[in-house]
Amino acid sequence: MKTHPLKEPSGTILEITRMSTEDGPGLRTTVFFKGCSLACLWCHNPESILFKPQVQWLGVGCLGCGICVRTCPENALALTDDGIVINRDRCTGCGLCAEECPSTAMELLGRKWQVRDLADELARDRAYFEQSGGGVTLSGGEAALQMDFSLALLKELRARGISTALDTCGQAPQAVFADLLPYVDLLLFDLKEIDPVKHKQFTGSGNEQILANAVYAAKFKSDHIYPQTIWVRTPVIPGMTDTADNIRGLGGFIRDHLAGAVSRWELCAFNNLCRDKYKRLGLVWPLADLALPEKKQMEALSEIARSVVAPDIVSWSGSTKLIKDENQRPDNKAKNILKPGCR
């Protein structure tokens, strides 16, 4: 990677996904930031929660050569019958093991990027952005947490004429949004649960700041030259956020406080394809065996949503149970489609 002599903020980035079709309009390159201000039970990007770099072992392709074990300066790795075991108390996320691994079985999650290097990388698909009305989406994790870097990146992208989107959970100081929003063409804002107590139970934080930021953003956008540039997304998690009350409550909030700024409200069905991600991070996922919502339910919740807000802004997406008997195409075979979106 090239480095620039200028002092610029650097960011910790988990992944860059090109030709993403799921993170806003058109074809997009999505930048997944590392570090999140929430820790949702259903998170399907668990590797994005912690800010600090982590390593993980992917069994596929591991030769069992032990180079990583010998490389680790902290003696945090062991070669066992079950493959490489990572002692996470010892691992500092320095990534040396991943650098030395011949087969990419050891992977470093989270790399430092300089703004201009990253912008160069993101500009590679400019022709596709232009033809599709797409652009770059900052996602995560929570891009707003790496405020200086995000701001510099958004400014740089704007300066290059690339359309921008910010995909946020909304949990960040309002001042951060005040700084970022002028450089964000489209705001993808997650509203997960209207009840603050449940919200805290599901995500680790209450929703007060999130809702306040949503109102702030809507106000900002309403005065904007292109006002209807907020998309709200709601994860539909069976037994948690999938209640009629929640959808009705969120709908009421959108209608009463965000009207005029929101052009789309998408209900995103829970997905469980991230199960292995938890295993690889040495985590137990309480939702591992949770079934997908049924198509019927997604449609019913959509109807409820439509009864509260302007019906044409509501849609739903994601895999549902028993796909094969339904008209719904099995559209989530490829895991990465699910990476972005509602956390």
């Binding site: 090109r18 074809l27 590679r124 033809q131 490829a334």
Partner: protein
């Protein structure tokens, strides 16, 4: 694992077919169960020395190598004798051949009309005597099968991993537009005029013989049409159903006029086009491969327009075309009992739709849509293969139709050609091959692809688009060893092992190279060597064809042959090039990148260690192999450094290719990239490569990144392809409208998408935008697959449920269940690796 059944997957079904077309289509798919078919019949002069099978046209089909002698002998065995005119043996060869082929197809092969068919012209696959005298026969035999002959040289070249080359039939676009306009009558008259201008000595020489043979051939279509006319008239008389009776009468009337007279309406034009086309296959004794139609929606449009104006129903136009579609598929009957990979794959009677016209105009018309509807309703069906030409200003309606068809047909039922990039390549060709008087800024839009995606001009161009297939990777091997095979060759039939001997130039002991540059220089020298070797090999079969296998009928259809009184096989076409198709491009680039990374940049191993690992087929060197595979840079990721080396590789072999001409026919070589199925088969021949590939694994396909290397997704993949073709002009006009293209022939690029990308209108719009982006950033031609691995695995287990499942690889279509297991596994692997 959930149980997979066919019900889980929607295989495209034909739709909206009339009873007539459904019957014809179903009948065709009965295959060997049909009472009627178009298998080869063989015809002999009944001399003891007769030769029937021109095996050299199959030198580019390694699957047939074991069968060459058998096929030749079988055709002779089965051949029926033809009574010859008394003075037959006093004629020059080309006249003997012209007479013989015409006599067989007109007077010997039976004529039939299938129930309901609206187009006449059924049996056309024949194997005819080469009409040799005893002396010619002996000479041919020695040159082809003798020691050091064409077959032996070709076998050695192939067995040692260089690739293959041979003077191959088909693979051009005849001047159909002209013959529809002036009729064979006009062609015949022109030939007579030309003959009349010959001097007396010229008439006695080869020019006179050629023109007399072409005159004979120019009446073949007329004579055959008259036979069919009589048949239709008889059938009409007997027919009870008044509607069918009228159809048969109309067919008789059509055939009494065309193709001899100029076509006057759509039905006549399609009838004439079919007969004119099928007789090319008759003339060449070659069932269809690459005998392409060019821009049918353009040159048939005036007839379509006139007929619609005169009251023809749009649906009846489709009905006529659908009959034409069924006819085109019967080309496959030639080898219907030989369901092996490659042979049943798409033969490539390619049609071209839409595209640019003069002054940047888009040429899409109603007939474009009519034909797309025909394809949509007939699919899945293999022939004729369509290629839709897109450009930066393709109308939204056409793009919508294209995307809709991709969605409903498990991937595109057509190839996509990209005009600006393709035309930049044709302009480069004009400059590099001294053709600036024939390919100009004012006519370059008339180009059309042949076979799959091989761009040529139309009606005056034979550019041998599949004739030379060279594995660039062999040069890496020779650079590593200093000019010998890395591993000894063992003949699979005899089990005998040959000791590797010096073949390429002695570029030195690679283990003593101190710098990457030294290795590159060795590679460059070996590249020049293998190109020269391929050129020399090609000339062996090219010179034999020029001497022994004239095709006077085809020569009538290609401008330049009459004027020069020279057969097309002797270089008679105005544009007479031959194409060197580089195979293994990405494997070669990735191997060079790996040598640079492992040995010189990161010094992970020494050259000696790398050589040892390759000789051991990576066995016992798994860590090094993993580093080669996973740590070394790769082409296809939009990585500027890797792509810069890829471009250097491209420029090297392209520049070298342009320098060569055939000695026998003076055809200049031009570069292209089409790998047909060689990248699969030759993977078992070429030794392990520095990119981590073991012997037996597939090589890379055409201009595609190596299998699984394109981890940055489709846009990065396409960007890499665009860059290695020369990219875009930073300033100035480039070779065409800001574009460069080092490969005038074009480059096959296959991409497989997950069907989810087309799951709703919003995503369809995104996919459409991808195509528009590709037109700006990508290559010359794109094949889109839309597959899901479960479906393919299930198709392997239950092939009977998937008889009509089409997959599209390297720009040729194949029914998945009929391709070889290795290729099936390859397709599955690709799909499984998609990261979308």
């Amino acid at each position: 694992m959930k149980q997979q059944t066919s019900a889980n997957h929607a295989v495209k079904e034909p739709k909206g077919l009339s009873d007539r077309i459904r019957w014809l289509r179903d009948y065709y798919f009965k295959g060997t169960g049909r009472a009627w078919n178009n298998e080869f019949t063989a015809w002999t002069t009944a001399t003891p020395w007769d030769v029937i099978y021109n095996e050299m046209t199959f030198y580019i089909v390694p699957e047939t190598y074991m069968l060459l002698s058998t096929l030749g002998a079988s055709y002779l065995q089965a051949a029926r004798p033809v009574d010859l005119p008394v003075d037959f043996w006093s004629w020059p060869l080309v006249e003997r051949r012209a007479w013989f082929v015409r006599d067989v197809i007109v007077n010997r092969v039976p004529q039939e009309i299938l129930p309901g068919d609206l187009i006449a012209g059924a049996r056309f696959n024949i194997q005819t005597s080469m009409c040799f005298t005893e002396k010619e026969s002996k000479k041919w035999l020695k040159l082809v099968k003798g020691r050091g002959g064409a077959r032996e040289k070709m076998k050695w070249f192939h067995d040692h991993g260089y690739g293959n080359a041979g003077a191959t039939s088909g693979h051009l676009i005849p001047g159909h537009e002209r013959v529809l306009k002036i009729g064979w009558k006009g062609v015949h008259a022109e030939l007579l005029s030309r003959y009349n201008t010959l001097t007396e000595p010229e008439r006695k020489g080869p020019k006179g013989a050629q023109l007399r043979a072409m005159v004979t051939a120019s009446a073949m279509a007329r004579d055959l049409a008259y036979k069919y006319k009589d048949l239709c008239a008889q059938m009409a008389q007997r027919e009870k159903d008044p509607i069918r009776k009228q159809e048969l009468s109309m067919m008789a009337r059509n055939l009494s006029r065309v193709p001899w007279e100029p076509a006057a309406n759509f039905w006549e034009a399609v009838q004439a086009l079919w007969l004119n086309h099928m007789l090319v296959m008759t003339d060449e004794n070659y069932p269809g491969a690459g005998v392409s139609f060019g821009r049918v929606d353009q040159y048939l449009y005036p007839y379509y327009h006139a007929s619609i104006r005169d009251g023809m129903d749009r649906d009846f136009a489709k009905e006529i075309l659908k009959c034409f579609w069924v006819h085109a598929n019967t080309a496959y009957d030639a080898m219907i009992r030989n369901g092996n990979q490659g042979i049943t794959a798409g033969f490539g009677q390619l049609i071209t739709l839409s595209g640019l016209g003069a002054q940047g105009a888009d040429m899409t018309n109603d007939l474009t849509y009519v034909i797309l509807e025909v394809i949509d309703e007939m699919s899945p069906i293999l022939e004729p293969k369509p290629n839709v030409r897109l450009h930066r200003h393709t109308p939204e309606a056409l793009l919508d139709k294209v995307v809709e068809m991709i969605e409903s047909s498990q991937g595109a039922p057509f190839l996509l050609n990209f005009d600006e990039r393709s035309m930049a390549g044709m302009m480069l060709e004009a400059r590099r091959a001294d053709l600036e008087h024939l390919i100009t800024p004012d006519n370059v839009h008339d180009y059309a692809p042949v076979g799959c995606l091989e761009n040529t001009m139309v009606g005056n161009d034979r550019s041998g688009t599949v004739d030379n297939n060279l594995n660039l990777l062999k040069a890496v091997e020779l650079a590593l060893t200093g000019g010998r095979d890395l591993i000894p060759y063992t003949d699979p039939m005899t089990g005998k092992t040959e000791k590797p001997k010096q073949d390429g130039p002695k570029t030195g002991d690679a283990t003593t190279f101190r710098t990457w540059e030294a290795f590159w220089q060795a590679y460059a020298r070996q590249t020049r060597y293998i190109i020269q070797k391929c050129v020399d090999l090609y000339d062996v079969s090219e010179s034999i064809r020029a001497q022994f296998f004239p095709t006077p009928y085809l020569s009538c259809l290609v401008q330049g042959c009459a004027k020069q009184a020279r057969d097309i096989t002797q270089g008679g076409a105005e544009i007479s090039l031959t194409t060197l198709e580089a195979v293994t491009f990405a494997t070669t680039v990735d191997s060079l990148l790996a040598v640079k990374y492992l040995v010189f940049d990161k010094k992970v191993c020494t050259m000696a260690e790398l050589l040892a690992a390759l000789q051991a087929n990576w066995q016992g060197h798994e860590v090094l192999q993993a580093m080669a595979k996973n740590r070394a840079p790769k082409y296809g990721r939009d990585d500027d450094e890797a792509d810069a080396l890829a471009l250097k590789v491209m420029e090297l072999w392209c520049d070298e290719t342009w320098k060569h001409r055939t000695k026998s026919t003076n055809r200049r070589f031009r570069p292209g990239m089409l790998s047909w199925n060689y990248w699969a088969g030759d993977g078992f021949i070429l030794s392990a490569s520095p990119d981590g590939r073991t012997k037996g694994q597939f090589l890379s396909n055409a201009i595609c990144p190596s299998n699984g290397a394109d981890i940055k997704g489709p846009t990065a993949n396409a960007n890499s392809v665009g860059k290695v073709l020369g990219g875009k002009a930073v300033e100035g006009p480039g070779d065409w409208d800001g574009y460069f293209n080092l490969l005038p022939n074009g480059a096959s690029h296959t991409m497989t998408f997950n069907p989810s990308i087309l799951r709703d209108p919003e995503h369809k719009a995104k996919f459409k935008a991808f195509l528009k982006g590709y037109a700006r950033q990508g290559g010359t031609a794109l094949q889109i697959n839309m597959l899901d691995p479960d479906m393919l695995k299930d198709a392997q287990t239950h092939p009977q449920n998937y008889r009509h499942l089409l997959v599209r690889v390297t720009g040729y279509n194949a029914y998945f269940t009929t391709v070889g297991r290795e290729l099936q596994n390859e397709v599955i692997e690709r799909v499984s690796h998609n990261k979308f």
